[in-house]
Symmetry: C2
Subunit: 306 residues, 2 copies
């Protein structure tokens, strides 16, 4: 199981490569609430942290393959380019256009699959074996979790006292890494937020073991996982205190709030933490919220808010 | 005429009060182009810098009055509140709803006037005299100019070498302060950007003296001034190298670019610098762009981009 030193080691790998995103505040959100806008991270999401940390650990020039609903794809594509590796990315056929284009823009090869009928894990393993390249998993990998946790480390270094940390939960890489460093640094509660339609983590917490659900239909395309990862669950089940859920409507309201009050473009998955706080699901005097990403096209944004 | 030390003095006044906004980059915009996003400033625009610098110079508790198409209003309202002063704001009847609401939200009194028929300067002077309060001008004041210039100072401190600085021009407070410190710090060219419909500065440069135009109709509501200020012209005519103009369409494209690539919400006036660079109007290897503000509602944004 990863520990705080793995997150610190990742921070050293990422120094000068990943952006140190700022922490921002809004009076309307609350005097003692800080937001870590990872939408301002390279490739538009926290995913770059884990992808770079992972690929940097491989022998120079190793070809990589990844499967992703979007942000991990762009992250792997960019990290591979920076590290001189070729990247191939398996993306669902219904991935947002802007994410596919960005991935191609970073010079990766894109291979599509049907999210609702094909098993991406099996497909990914098979392709990686066939091509002899390294599979970079989106979350269930110690180096990916540790890399993601550096977002929380920076938040806690830059924000002053934080009592509760609020983190979006998809596969669980971000919350596993974040909870690991947060508990070390004295954060009392770590709260994960999922879309209500995709409450696999909440159900798993209730059952005390990994529960798999149908692939959820939600606007939060980055959080459409159907079950916690094996490794992220091992960490998350021990270090995360609570999972709350928000509706797609609450997510849209949070995106509008981020736009108008924080002047930040936040994608649906990225807005779940703000949604949880705006709807009173997190009761804490000093809260840190990780906004995970901002990869949403302007037209899609307008459509969601209409 | 203000000098670099006035900008440095303002920076000391603002330290720990104004946000030190980050500098951000986008590969798509250019490897050596840095953006200073003052949309992330308190009250959503660079205007807070000048307003606070000015009001902090008055005897504690002095009531203030301001006239503004929006961002200066919010800036004065917030700065006054922080400094324990009452604020009344004259706003045009067609000011964006979001800006009026934000001003009221900061606890200021709002008085409306017709931008196209009434003379706001005369109205402001009369009201200030009648009420015995201090008029806080939007740009034509040494403390306002010096405060605004701190945005450029921070950009230059944080960005490494900048050859050319690109700055939105309305009344000219931001560019006057920015050019003053930029030339001191070795910037070769300072380029102002106006909406094409409101080219009062460009015409003034061509004439070698202040030229007044009709109040321009443009989506860039923060840049609808009809003539340079007397003091801002004195500084700008000596320290600014060139004025370029952009169309409303180019402004909308720049807003979309900021949204999708920088993940930043930028209002029309704030986007003119990005528009100038995207359209090849600035030829420089190392460019710094000040994005002046982000106060645009989500619905208005969607409407502009439709």
């Amino acid at each position: 199981m990863i520990g705080p030193d793995d997150v610190r080691a990742a921070a050293r790998v990422l120094e000068g490569i990943a952006h140190r995103t700022p922490v921002v505040r809004s009076r309307t959100l609350g005097e003692n609430i800080v937001v870590k806008p990872e939408n301002l991270q390279r490739a538009g999401a926290f995913k770059f942290r884990g992808a770079y940390n992972k690929i940097a650990s491989l022998p120079r020039g190793t070809a990589v393959l990844a499967f992703s609903s979007g942000n991990h794809a762009q992250a792997v594509a960019l990290a591979a380019r920076l590290l001189g590796s070729r990247a191939a990315i398996l993306m669902p056929t219904d991935a947002p256009r802007s994410k596919v284009e960005a991935t191609l823009g970073y010079g990766a090869e894109v291979i599509t699959y049907d999210r609702y009928t094909e098993d991406r894990d099996a497909l990914g393993e098979a392709l990686a074996a066939e091509r002899g390249c390294e599979l970079v998993r989106p979350y269930d990998d110690p180096l990916i979790m540790a890399g993601a946790g550096t977002a929380a480390l920076e938040l806690l270094e830059d924000a002053g006292t934080v009592d509760t940390l609020v983190v979006p939960v998809g596969g669980g890489g971000l919350i596993a890494g974040s909870a690991t460093i947060a508990k070390e640094l004295g954060v009392r509660r770590v709260v994960g937020v999922e879309p209500a339609a995709g409450d696999d983590w909440q159900q798993s917490f209730a059952a005390g073991e990994i529960v798999a659900i149908e692939v959820p239909h939600t606007i939060a395309d980055g959080l459409q996982t159907h079950a916690p990862g094996v490794l992220t669950w091992e960490v998350g089940s021990q270090r995360v205190d609570e999972i709350v859920t928000v509706s797609d409507e609450q997510i849209v309201d949070a995106m509008r709030f981020a736009f108008e009050r924080l002047k930040l473009v936040v994608e649906p998955s990225g807005a779940v933490g703000i949604a949880a706080v705006l709807n009173g699901l997190v009761d804490s005097p000093r809260t840190g919220i990780i906004v995970s990403g901002g990869n949403v096209g302007a037209d899609r944004f307008a459509e969601l808010l209409a």
